[in-house]
């Protein structure tokens, strides 16, 4: 039992700092502004962050393989607008997600093709895609919103409560199934293997190119799901959605303890990272601190997460050293 506990604590060591930070924020809120925990606020927080969370899930996969995708914000906008246009063009609302999903996978696959198959550096490819998709969208929509959508676009034609429940359920389902798949499916372990050492993975019979391709395509898919779920909360679609999403997602992933060099990190950490960065703005409003310092505080959280991580690694190393010496003789 204690062995199991020690295994668990070792496995989740990297999530400790952000969890502690989230805990501090929540406890502080509990003392200063208990109304923060009203059901309504928690629901709104969840709904407002579910899209970032789903995008961050994809980002986690990408970062786990040692790559990065900064085109997610632009992809998000393209998918949102596409959803609106399709619905407006008369495509049945239940079919819209299918098309949007396909579009997302396609955009992700294009990244995957260039990065996974051709071996181009991901930061450059996705930087190029980021400006290219964003400007394509500006060019085609000329900045206009998609308005006068069919009445059943908002909430998929369901009751708002049911749809909200569904959106949250999809978010939870994606996060849990993602976490489960990463831990318990051979597929998930391949993601870690590629991130830990692509060459060793190749020698172990894993094709890193396919894994990277798959990870980027999956991210495209997740981005499209996030965009879809976000779009149906409203009755119109703005053409400038998702600006800055890439930095939010990367920040959440990193704050959640995933190593930017790949191979280490969990979905759980990312969810905590999203919760921490997402809650901080609202929390400040509750406490009555002006919005001017939100960015500075988020920056400090990222740096603090790094500091905590380094401290933790150092402590873990120290605790580990004797074990290392014992094994051989």
């Amino acid at each position: 039992m204690s062995a199991l506990l020690s295994r668990m604590s070792r496995r989740h060591a990297r999530e400790a700092p952000p969890t502690a930070a989230l805990g501090i924020v929540l406890i502080a809120m509990g003392v200063v502004a208990p109304s923060f925990f009203s059901a309504g606020n928690l629901r709104d927080l969840a709904l407002n962050n579910v899209a970032v969370m789903i995008v961050a899930l994809g980002m986690t996969l990408v970062v786990l393989t040692g790559e990065i995708d900064i085109s997610v914000g632009s992809q998000f906008a393209v998918c949102s607008v596409a959803a609106g246009m399709l619905a407006k063009a008369g495509v049945p609302i239940m079919l819209v997600p299918v098309f949007v999903l396909a579009l997302g996978v396609l955009m992700g696959a294009l990244n995957g093709l260039l990065i996974g198959m051709l071996g181009l550096p991901s930061i450059i490819v996705t930087l190029a895609m980021m400006v290219a998709w964003r400007d394509t969208l500006r060019w085609t929509t000329d900045g206009a919103w998609i308005q006068d959508l069919p009445a059943n676009f908002q909430w998929f034609g369901m009751s708002p409560e049911a749809a909200q429940l569904m959106i949250m359920a999809v978010g939870v389902a994606l996060a849990t199934s993602g976490a489960w798949a990463l831990r318990h499916l051979a597929l998930g372990r391949r993601v870690y293997a590629v991130g830990a050492d692509a060459e060793a993975a190749r020698l172990a019979g894993i094709d890193p190119r396919m894994v990277k391709f798959g990870v980027f395509a999956t991210t495209g898919m997740l981005v499209s799901i996030g965009a879809m779920l976000n779009a149906v909360r409203f009755s119109t679609v703005p053409s400038n959605a998702g600006i800055g999403f890439e930095l939010q997602a990367v920040a959440a992933v990193v704050v959640g303890g995933t190593a930017i060099t790949g191979g280490r990190g969990t979905i759980l950490g990312t969810v905590i990272g999203v919760a921490l960065l997402g809650a901080i703005g609202t929390a400040l409003t509750y406490v009555g601190i002006g919005p001017f310092w939100v960015k500075a505080i988020q920056g400090l959280i990222i740096l603090a997460a790094l500091g905590g991580d380094a401290l933790f690694t150092r402590l873990a190393r120290r605790a580990h050293l004797p074990a290392r010496a014992v094994v051989a003789h």
Partner: protein, 691 residues
Amino acid sequence: MQLSLTEARLPLRVRLFPNKEWVLLIVIVAEVVVYGITGTNFATLGNAFEITRLSVEIGLLALALTPVIVSGGIDLSIGSMMGLSAVAFGYFWRDAGLPIPVAIVFTLMIGMAGGALNAVFITRFKFPPLIVTLGTLSLYRGIAEGVTGGVQHYSGFPAGFLHLGQGYIGGHVPTQLVVLALVALWSAWSLHRTGAGRALYAIGHSAEGARYAGIPVARRLATVYVLSGAAASLAALVYVAHLGQAKSDAGTGYELMAITAVVLGGASIFGGRGTILGTLLGLFSIVLLQNGLRLTGQPAELSGILVGVLLIGTILVDVFTQHAATRAAPSPTATEQPDVRNSQVAVLSAVILLGALIVAASNWVLVNSLRHDLRGGPSMTAASPGATATHRTLIAMMPKAKGDPYFISAHKGADSAAAALGVDLLWDGPTDLDAAKQNEVVEAWITRGVNAIAVSVENREAISTVLRKARERGIKVVTWDADAEANARDFFVNQATPEGIGNTLTDEAARIMGGSGELAIITASLSAANQNEWITFIKLRLAAKYPRITLVAIQPSDGDRDRAFAETQTVLKVHPKVKVVMAIAAPAVPGAAEAVKQSGRKDVKVTGLSLPNMCRPYIKSGEIESIVLWNTMDLGALTVRVAQALASGELGAGASTLDAGRMGSFQVVGSEVRLGLPFIFNRTNIDRFNF
């Protein structure tokens, strides 16, 4: 096998362009040729200098970023550091009362301190630079916003300082170009001709290997990050001098443009490769592209797409030639040259062909759409089928941000007026609020030689210099929506003063609230100049007329509907007694209304400044009581009419009315043409408007 040890030096091509940067030279030549033929006044000396003036800030960042990337790192915080430095400089000069030179030195020290913080995290704690600078990207911008409250900005700098960003040396050479040239020369020397520079390459290839060669790795790395912070501060100084104003949003997003230039210039993001010359070529190929698109009148959005293609194209060339080289060289005896060159040339030609195709296709699309416009415009076909485009008046009109629905509707009005008046309309501007970009566009228009320029001014001090320059060149200048300095334009099309807007909004909110209660404001970004001006007048009005109304919160929406939605939700919960949410950015009103709708609160109403079409459903369902605005389509149309009348000499100083055909007659007061008072849209009249 035994080497020829007295081998000659490398050919010039290889020495200058170790990473095949000559590809960019071809791109630049292609751009010059294509735009020289298709663009107006593209290939002129004046344009050449103006282009370089516009590239100085990003150029400085790119130059500083080159050694960072060569050493295998990255610095995302430089754009934010520009914002922080700009604010710091303003503070040192105005609030601390320091003389300009001292303020400059202090500002540079702020930049170095910021760079040093990055350096400490990266070299001492060994964190990945990407994450460290992602954190400081947020941190530095956040500090700049926090200390100024987003609102405060600094202007009124002495002419001597402004000369740095606006003046000329020897009559032709922009002052800041000299700064860029000096920094470029120094960077090139220190990166390519000193031991420290060579050490950076070794570090970039293998930091461990460099350490074992006795190179003080941590010290070298710390130096490049400190220098990159200093360069960001220098860029901020040039930026402030260029725009005449220091604000916390200086340099937003510049880091990505700088990285693009460096990577395009052949630097490897993994470190160990890259040259200053390459970075400059990368920088100029992007700037030329943007400028060329502008002067040929093609949509500026193409530049993003083309830069994306160019980026991927150049690394594809690189990767393929690398592949060829490594495949051909498993042993030292391999003489792989012919092989490589063939595949290299093949890939290169493919990329250039692709680029050419895209340029050609975009030209074709453009010509087609123009032809369509000319033929399709009902007034044109009837009026003068034989008229050639060259004799038609060309009016260039700029919004604050192209993507803003407010300006989109103004564009519609302007378009129809231009068709009716038989003039050509050039509509261009920044995609997001960006004062520097506005200057850039006006510069391009001056070069292109339009008949009249109409600008919706984002930043009064910043734009005035360049508008005066346009007037000197005989171009008629109109401002609309927001004014520049009075002597920088011929006429201002005044739809409403900030005071009028503030008062109308306040009165309307007070009416809804019944004169008492809590009010919350959802603004655009925290540093948005217009909104901040309105808020000032709203506060004044509240204090003067409605003492029983308290303003409990001002939350930002960043012009993002979803953000406005979330902020409104929070405000409603934290301040449950709020009766009215006033949203003063067009996308924020529907966002706030949706939040009210989903909260189920019938006792909260939304009002604000927005467009009828966006708000129509909410006005009908009752969440929005009313919105305040003027007829934006009329505003666009009137602006075109004023510009046309000015260009044709029909309107001059001293006029008292202007006849605008269908729209009727408008009052002219001094150098202002009045559109009329702000209009209140509500349930009863909303269906009469469609924009």
